[in-house]
């Protein structure tokens, strides 16, 4: 029987923060979000900061518990069968996140051990995977703190791919990168799509990136998924020519609009 790669039904996540001594302020980071992804598909979720993109990625990564609804990865319940799901998923986030004094090779070894890769396997695989992401082999024993942001993000991609995930969660992987590094990372994501049996969920606020890389594009706004369709269908539905215009048509705001106090609070919470 064929099972969807990702199946999310009415997913809810509410964060609360203390306000004063007795009160807690609650904000819905995700509000009854539902969607499915098929195996091998690349889906991009667009949204401003604080829209709930990272919350969605963290829920699917088993780092958060939902307040309602359900999420399944290849048929396994993300919250009840977390350890099984963890074997299937890996991610790249906006921050490269490494032990800065350790080298790229040491950081990759550490990550790989948690996925059952022994020393002989990592000695063979780490140089191979670093070469594939375009990381200079002679720099693999340098401390991460000596590497540029673009280089660090390549190591982050290598870390995610080293464990052969069948679901790859990319949370703004090119944010903050210079144009050349951004292009290299995007090229590599295309290569993963073409050569591997990976399903990719790409969360980004770069509309061009979403349009170029994804089969379908979704818009998450203030915790609600407003649409998730192929770009052509989105443009047709709102009778517009660009995704920016579609965002305006769907929300009544421009993508760069100033945020309200509510949005800023949601950004901090999420």
């Amino acid at each position: 029987m064929s099972v969807s790669a990702v199946e999310v039904r009415d997913l809810e996540k509410v964060f609360s923060r203390r306000k004063g001594l007795w009160h807690r302020r609650k904000r819905a980071a995700l509000n009854k979000v539902s969607f499915t992804m098929e195996r091998g598909e690349c889906v991009a979720i667009l949204g401003q900061n604080g829209s709930g993109k990272s919350t969605l990625v963290r829920l699917l990564s088993t780092l958060l518990l939902a307040d309602g609804g359900e999420a399944r990865v290849f048929g396994y319940d993300v919250f009840k069968e977390a350890r099984t799901v963890r074997r299937l998923v890996n991610r790249v986030s906006v921050e490269a996140s490494f032990f800065k004094r350790m080298s790229a090779a040491e950081n990759l070894s550490y990550a790989a051990r948690f996925y059952g890769m022994g020393p002989s396997e990592t000695r063979r695989e780490i140089p191979r995977i670093l070469q594939r992401v375009g990381f200079p082999p002679n720099r693999r024993n340098e401390s991460m703190e000596n590497l540029s942001r673009g280089m660090q993000q390549k190591v982050a991609l290598a870390r995610a791919l080293l464990t052969s995930p069948v679901l790859l969660l990319l949370d703004e992987p090119t944010t903050g990168l210079d144009p050349r590094s951004k292009q290299e990372v995007q090229t590599f994501i295309r290569e993963i799509r073409e050569r591997h049996d990976s399903t990719i969920l790409l969360c980004t606020h770069d509309m061009k990136e979403a349009e170029e890389l994804a089969d379908r594009v979704g818009l998450l706004d203030r915790g609600e998924l407003l649409f998730l369709e192929p770009v052509a269908d989105v443009l047709q539905r709102y009778e517009v020519e660009t995704l920016e215009e579609a965002f305006f048509a769907a929300t009544g705001r421009t993508f760069e609009d100033e945020k309200t106090e509510d949005d800023e609070e949601r950004e901090v919470f999420a």
């Binding site: 099972v3 964060f15 921050e95 350790m102 040491e106 550490y110 051990r113 059952g116 890769m117």
Partner: protein, 280 residues
């Protein structure tokens, strides 16, 4: 077609993967020690100086040279165990604190290695590293002050510390959860646990000088038996005394499962509240 991980991950494969995960935690800590070696040497110097300030107290007391040597040894054992316990708590607490600071916490906590293996890996490294440091501090102070230890049974002392470490790791797991609950202040609370445990355990004085209720609490503190046993072993060359070993084994048998359960509750709380993420 669905991904059938139940076929790919048999029980044998899972055990193998968990052992590799445990090795990975120890290996990572070795890498970090290597990278921060000069800092570690600076902290070692501080620990030696701190222990000397305690041991020199014996020099100011008007007693015979033999009694002074005995008092210096008792204070030294207290100082070394204080430092050893500090290292265990510090490293086990870093399970969360250091990863949060570096930003790797999300990657580590979404990896498929089980939490007990992860925490025990931290504990194993903490004990190895702590024993090496304790030995260095001990001999540095012995040489500096010129303490005579003709009967010391070092093998038994190390064995007793290793047995006590099971309980220390269990308590350390309970404190390791604190940075998950409070990223800002949680790590410091680990030091509170260390201080509370030692104050009731007779770190620089006999337990008998404590108020009755503290003496009762001392009975469930693993440090009480480690301190008592180590003093006998270093001063009089005693072996592993069953009177010290069995309470440590019993406390260890309770503290590890309790520590794991407390951590599990803390992790669940952090996942519910969204605290399982990098800070800064």
């Amino acid at each position: 077609m669905a991904v059938d991980v139940t076929q790919a991950f048999t029980r044998r494969r899972i055990i193998r993967d968990e052992l590799i995960g445990l090795f990975g935690v120890v290996e990572r800590n070795l890498y970090l020690t290597k990278r921060y070696l000069l800092w570690d040497l600076a902290f070692l110097l501080w620990t030696v100086a701190n222990t000397l300030t305690i041991v020199f107290i014996a020099r100011g007391v008007g007693i015979s040279p033999v009694e002074r040597n005995s008092l210096e040894t008792k204070l030294l054992v207290g100082g070394v165990i204080w430092a050893f316990l500090g290292i265990i708590f510090e490293i086990v607490t870093e399970t969360v604190a250091w990863e949060r600071w570096e930003g790797t916490i999300e990657y580590t906590f979404m990896a498929p290695v089980s939490r007990p293996v992860h925490l025990i890996g931290m504990g194993v490294y903490a004990v190895i590293y702590g024993l090496v440091r304790a030995a260095l501090v001990f001999f540095a102070v012995v040489l500096f002050i010129g303490i005579h230890l003709p009967h010391a049974n070092y093998g038994a002392a190390i064995a007793l510390l290793a047995i006590a470490s099971i309980s220390f790791i269990g308590v350390g797991m309970m404190t390791a959860v604190l940075p998950l609950v409070s990223p800002e202040k949680g790590t410091q609370l680990g030091f509170v646990a260390q201080g509370l445990m030692l104050v009731v355990s007779g770190v620089y004085y006999p337990v008998s000088v404590l108020p009755d209720w503290m003496q009762w609490v001392a009975k469930i503190s693993p440090a009480t038996y480690a301190l008592r046993g180590n003093r006998e072993q270093i001063l009089h060359g005693a072996g592993l005394a069953w009177a010290d070993v069995w309470p440590l084994l019993v406390i260890g048998a309770f503290s590890i499962p309790i520590g794991l359960s407390v951590f599990k509750i803390g992790e669940r709380y952090a996942k519910k509240r969204g605290k399982l993420k990098r800070s800064g």
